[in-house]
């Protein structure tokens, strides 16, 4: 449900970019939503597509990169992959993990058309 708010935030950022550097349409929007960012990518895509008609995002291709989760394992003193929150360290099986990657939720870039 919060993906709709996030999509609204993305649209606002796109509109702010257009105010600073005018363009008429976005042909491709590239986002990054890490596996540990707390975002359901399908819902985010759906929300963006629902919001897009009549905006700068109308008809835009939406690419969402999903960086894998990473965490620092206190017991192994090493960076380990983390598939989801609550999953154990793949090396030691422990849970003393501090996520260090895959928590990003960012707009990377826009490919825009000027006319």
């Amino acid at each position: 449900m919060h993906e709709l708010s996030l999509a609204g935030g993305i649209l606002s950022a796109v509109e702010a970019a257009a105010a600073a550097d005018p363009f008429v349409r976005v042909s491709r929007l590239r986002l990054e939503a890490g596996k540990l960012a707390g975002v359901e990518v399908h819902a985010l895509r759906f929300a963006l597509e629902a919001l897009a008609p009549g905006t700068l995002l109308a008809g835009a291709q939406i690419d969402i990169e999903e960086p894998h989760g990473q965490a620092w394992c206190l017991d192994c003193a090493a960076t380990v992959p983390l598939v989801e929150r609550g999953a154990p360290c793949p090396t030691c099986g422990g849970f003393w993990l501090q996520p260090t990657g895959g928590t990003e939720l960012r707009i990377l870039d826009l490919q825009v058309e000027d006319h």
Binding site: H2, G9, A17, F23, G86, W96, R106, L108, Q111
Partner: protein, 331 residues
């Protein structure tokens, strides 16, 4: 002349058919044999003449909210206000817990300024329950929204009498460097507190919309999120909603007076909670019979201190390491 393809007609480039042949990466040939340079991706076009170009943004989607949250946090810290964001599923007993907490705080610290922000989709019922305890409360109805955001807190906080109450209680503070809320003017010189150490000058409870998913992402400027889980909900909720329990500083296991009637496995629940957040502090409580309320109040009046579980764990590991090194030295 068209700056995209150089042809003389005022055609639209959206009309170019998709089944054109391609000679190399920079040129596209359409059905009539015309060549189209730079009609495609920005990376293959001539700078300044491109139809498509790329704007790098590299911006956090929640950046705007986070900026508001940072201003709220700065304001709370400057005034010594302990702001807590209470999150849970609907029906966990959040409002009942809050009412019991307010009454108990009144008894322990009669002069301590307290205020409540109540978030719900609809109705003023919860704010009215809080006001019945004599504590000022403001209701935020989010309509279709599933969470509170930092801007709502800025607005609501400005309408609460907490700030005036702090000054009436003799609170003195310094002006923070950056300007805060537009409607927040101090005319008197005063000394601000530093938060985190010791008893807060005031407490702001923010009861978020009953939802264990969405509020996890929205920072409101709070000192910490308090996740409330009741024993009627199932012990695996921390695993089912890991983002929220990972974001929380404290978990309150509520309604423990009902445990004799349930199959709820407390230890398993605590293990699951620590699985998603090894730093999470946990208080077991019953808002109805008052069990655990003192521990919760102690935590509040200590200014929501950080967990020392990690420090304890590090100490244990260091001891283990020292034990392993000792025979190596002898060898």
């Amino acid at each position: 002349m068209c700056v995209v393809c150089g042809c003389g007609t005022g055609h639209s480039h959206e009309q170019h058919p998709n089944n054109e042949s391609t000679t190399d990466s920079d040129v596209r040939v359409d059905a009539t044999g015309d060549l189209h340079y730079g009609a495609g991706e920005a990376r293959v076009s001539v700078p300044g003449l491109s139809q498509a170009r790329t704007i790098r943004i590299e911006q956090d989607v929640l950046g705007e909210n986070d900026r508001h949250a940072a201003r709220n946090r700065e304001n709370f810290i400057a005034h010594g206000v302990l702001a807590l964001n209470l999150v849970s599923s609907p029906g966990s007993g959040k409002t009942t817990l809050l009412c019991a907490t307010l009454l108990a705080l009144r008894e322990r610290r009669a002069g301590l300024p307290i205020a409540v922000i109540e978030g719900d989709q609809q109705t003023r019922n919860d704010a009215e329950r809080i006001r019945a305890t004599g504590v000022p409360a403001i209701q935020i109805n989010t309509g279709k929204g599933c969470h509170l955001d930092a801007r709502m807190i800025t607005e609501a906080y400005a309408r609460l009498p907490l700030h005036d109450a702090l000054h009436a209680a003799g609170h003195e503070h310094h002006h923070p460097k950056a300007p805060l809320l537009s409607n927040h003017h101090h005319h008197a010189a005063h000394d601000h507190h530093a938060q985190g150490a010791g008893e807060p000058a005031g407490i702001l409870f923010i009861e978020n919309v009953g939802n264990l998913v969405c509020p996890a992402l929205w920072d409101l400027g709070e000192a910490g999120k308090v996740a409330i889980l009741s024993v009627t909900e199932g012990e695996d909720k921390p695993l089912k909603y890991p983002d929220m329990f990972a974001a929380a500083k404290l978990m309150i296991l509520n309604k423990i007076d009902l445990l004799p009637h349930l199959d709820f496995d407390v230890q398993r629940c605590l293990d699951y909670a620590h699985q998603v957040n090894p730093q999470l502090q946990i208080i077991q409580l019953s808002a109805r019979d008052g069990t655990g309320l003192d521990a919760w109040l102690d935590w509040l009046l200590a200014g929501a201190p950080e967990s020392d579980r990690k420090a304890a764990r590090i100490a244990a590991l260091e001891a283990e390491l020292a034990a392993l090194k000792a025979p190596a030295k002898e060898a």
